[in-house]
Symmetry: C2
Subunit: 79 residues, 2 copies
């Protein structure tokens, strides 16, 4: 089973990395680009076959290690 | 319109960041975690309403700036 975790900065938190990408795209001539946010995606190969248990475990991983929940939000997808 | 870009290291390319996450999860007592790959996700707000044109433009952004196509692969999703 595979899990995919998205970790993004929360909406109110300034994202200098995304801002840098937006500026660079502007310099390269790409127009019509508004806000840009950059985050992390983590793909995990999991053993076990219980989808609900896997999702709960991956959420625990996010809380403990993968995301800084003070400034980041995460979503878990089991695929 | 929003575009979401995933940039991941190509399959053969060593991913030390993912490997570090895997080790850390092991030390925290999470078992049953196989390979871990870490990548970037970039969310762009786009003006314009032509989906196909937007996807083509975002692909051009990936080729020029967002991904290093020597070692990285990308997927574009218009949402």
């Amino acid at each position: 089973m595979k899990a995919r975790v998205h970790v993004m900065l929360k909406d109110g938190v300034l994202d200098p990395q995304g801002e840098a990408v937006r500026n660079a795209l502007g310099h390269l001539g790409f127009e019509g680009v508004g806000a840009v946010r950059q985050g992390k995606v983590i793909e995990l190969d999991l053993t076990g076959s219980d989808k609900a248990a896997a999702e709960a475990e991956v959420r625990a991983m996010c809380e403990k290690l993968l995301a800084n929940t003070v400034i980041e939000k995460y979503t878990v997808e089991i695929v």
